[in-house]
Subunit: 149 residues, 4 copies
């Protein structure tokens, strides 16, 4: 993180400091829910919905590797099928301490369906001591979305 | 359904009549949660877990068709990341009245990770007036699972 | 394999002994084309098309495990986009000597789009000394296909 | 396209004008190979490999929408299992005249495994009269790749 927190503050203007704290904490805790016997790479995720609900997700892998569903898509289907399609922010955590985790392209595509360009994506390292926040459109520019069909 | 209900009764011996009624009802209702603007093909699903919880799922599609997550996988990741990896039965519904719906191979593969061979799969038509029940191993024989690696 | 080869012979009636030999050989060789740094589980595949072409495939994995494409789907997209949508047989190989490999449910679903119920699936062990042959419909019974929509 | 072609020229410095012409032409032609009965949205793709081979791809869909494999991933598995893992450029075409097509996030993730940050992605409209060229890293910034695990 650069010292300049202004863009990040603007991005998170719809999220209170308390909500942000909860969101990070829950994203870190969500790793406990991971089923990842193949990669042994646990990922946790939390989506804060417009209704102020925190929806947790974790990666669920499969013996056929291509069957794996990431933490972000897990949380997304839970939110959507829970009737919550509008989201304020998403936070994602992995176990690595040295780097913050980044959502894969499959999940960016899945989220694209529901997120605005300004949707804040909060990427954490293993204990939340490092944080990177980006607006969704910076992670999937020139995206292929509902309007592309 | 044949008139001979004995194999089905045996298969569902861990599920009470009341639970079965609930399971079907919830699988039918779950279609309301579907996000399927591309196929306009709503699918609902309900998993009954060992803890007697009913976990609902519905299909969530994407502008990139390959990004779609079916109802069964939706319910499965909810159950697994809800700490419930042991399941008593799954029920699935579509909108077609004339036929019962069948899980796709992707979902069979995903379920394979958690289901025993005798896990009952209950396939419904649009109002639940038709039902087919099969043990999981009949739907994915000679499966590729955790032991195959 | 049981000693009774009659069902298998019937299944392979559109394939000559020479073609069958080639098909197995190529499915075994195709493992060399595998990109599988994550699972280290190489899979090879060969589809014999109606035009008498042998189309090879191998698994291609991804750092995001869910992005992996199996050998069977690799060969299938090559055949389809090569203008060859009608197939006589498919053979699949893994590295395990003790068991023959089995296609995952994702690939069964993908193949479903192009295969008839009698399409022969030839499953091999690591050196082709063990072989199991099944008609496609036995591997994906009650399938979800184009007619299900 | 802006009038300033300098960044694009730099990006395509390893591709001759003749190769670029061929690449676009083949990406447009590749749409003919599409199997897309569900979306009726044909996509074509061509990868130019370091060996100066043009590898074509097209989207192949499935009755289970999540089974679809896009044109880009089709071409990618063909190149990789053809022994060609180093690529000079990729071109993609759709049928829309008004906009250039954009690769979905799933395909960006798949390509990530093999592409450098400067890998040029050429996006075309329906007849190639509009072109947008971007370096891969601009389409999937902060990517999740082999080093992330
Ligand atoms: Zn992901
Ligand atoms: Zn499915
Ligand atoms: Zn497979
Ligand atoms: Zn794509």
């Amino acid at each position: 993180m650069s010292g300049d927190k202004e863009p990040e503050k603007h991005l998170l203007r719809h999220v209170t400091a308390q909500q942000l704290g909860q969101l990070k904490k829950k994203a870190l805790e969500a790793r406990e829910l991971s089923y990842s016997p193949y990669s042994k790479f646990r990922v946790g995720c939390c989506i804060l919905t417009k209704e102020n609900k925190f929806v947790l997700g974790a990666n669920v892998e499969n013996a056929s590797y291509g069957g794996a569903i990431c933490a972000e898509r897990c949380a997304a289907v839970k939110a959507v099928t829970g009737g919550m399609k509008e989201w304020l922010a998403i936070a994602i955590s992995g176990d690595r301490m040295e780097d913050t985790i980044s959502p894969c392209g499959i999940c960016r595509q899945f989220i694209r369906e529901f997120a605005s360009g300004e949707f804040p994506v909060i990427m954490l390292n293993g204990d939340g001591s490092k944080t990177v926040v980006k607006p969704f459109e910076e992670l999937l520019p020139l995206s292929f979305g509902p309007d592309s069909l």
